[in-house]
């Protein structure tokens, strides 16, 4: 098995991620959060959903699941780790990514396609994309509003670790095209080693034209490629 898709109680996008991986010709397998063994996976995806009901705080309880110490260990070896939506929130809570995600500006759940601009290709999520490319990918979250303490935010920006920002169709970035109030329109980020990435939109929902958009492919293909040719650090 190459890619482990972690299932917490309350996770609900696990089957969609596995389906998308199959569409891209990669094999992925589900791993239960109580397992403490990633069974030789070369990469990990934390899919979307509502781990532990999002109770207490989104991602807060999931980070203590036995599997998370394995995820952390794998991340430290430089293996690709991706968090989508709730998975992004879990990675932030676990300290594998900077910042946190809070309630959307308008206090309403948002399910609709949004446009994001690729800001950097230095991540397992964007390696195969073009800087400046604009992708149309569904957003599906209530807590997608990215925040970070000023110093950490400055460091994140300075290090070029913001990989995706909400934009208009032409790539212009402004408040009018910030769906949820995210600081600096941040939609996706990576870590310093650029092997751990998280984003709020759902690329797995945009790999087949018949479902409206295939723009998510380039992101997931980046991830799959980096799983096949791991950059150990």
């Amino acid at each position: 098995m190459t890619i482990a898709v972690v299932v917490f109680p309350g996770t609900n996008c696990e089957h969609d991620v596995v389906h998308a991986m199959r569409v891209l010709g990669a094999d992925a397998e589900l791993v239960w959060h109580r397992d403490d063994d990633l069974a030789g996976a070369a990469g990990v995806i934390l899919p979307g959903g509502f781990a532990h009901g999002d109770y207490l705080r989104t991602g807060a309880i999931a980070r203590f699941s036995p599997i998370m110490s394995e995820v952390r260990r794998l991340a430290e070896t430089g293996a690709p780790v991706l968090g989508i939506c709730n998975g992004f929130q879990v990675l932030c809570e676990a300290g594998l990514l900077t910042g946190a995600l809070v309630a959307n500006r308008d206090l309403r759940f948002i399910c609709r396609p949004v446009h994001v601009r690729v800001e950097s290709t230095d991540s397992v999520l964007t390696a195969a994309a073009q800087v400046g490319a604009v992708l149309r990918i569904p957003l599906n979250s209530y807590e997608g509003n990215y925040v970070a303490p000023p110093e950490e935010l400055a460091a994140l920006e300075a290090a070029g670790e913001v990989v995706l920002r909400y934009s208009d169709t032409s790539g212009a970035i402004d408040e009018a095209h910030n769906p949820n109030g995210s600081t600096n329109n941040i939609a996706g980020i990576t870590n310093a080693a650029s092997n751990v990435a998280g984003l709020m939109p759902h690329p797995e929902r945009a790999v087949e034209r018949i479902l409206g958009s295939a723009d998510g492919r380039v992101l997931l293909e980046s991830f799959v490629a980096s799983v096949r040719t791991p950059v150990r650090t």
């Binding site: 207490l56 807060a60 809570e93 946190a100 809070v102 500006r105 308008d106 206090l107 509003n145 000023p150």
Partner: protein
């Protein structure tokens, strides 16, 4: 004994619930309200009657789980 944990968003970080509620209060005519901040209450009942120990333990729970130190402040009060 009962302990009350209060968790609030750090100063300066987005508090959409607070902002939205402030707006709603103004719409209802409460112009005198100058600030609205949201937070979470977690009431805990714990064994034993050593208040100091109970508070210390609750603070540890906050550090580990109940609060997110990156974006939240917390305080612990003994209720009775």
């Amino acid at each position: 004994m009962r302990v009350r944990v209060l968790i609030t968003r750090k100063e300066g970080l987005a508090d959409p619930e607070g902002v939205e509620t402030h707006r709603a209060l103004r719409d209802l005519g409460y112009g005198g309200v100058t600030e609205v901040h949201f937070g979470r209450i977690i009431n805990l009942s714990v064994d034993g009657d050593d208040a100091v120990a109970a508070v210390a333990q609750a603070e540890e729970m906050c550090e580990r789980l109940l609060a997110n130190p990156v974006i939240e402040d917390y305080s612990v009060e003994v209720v009775e």
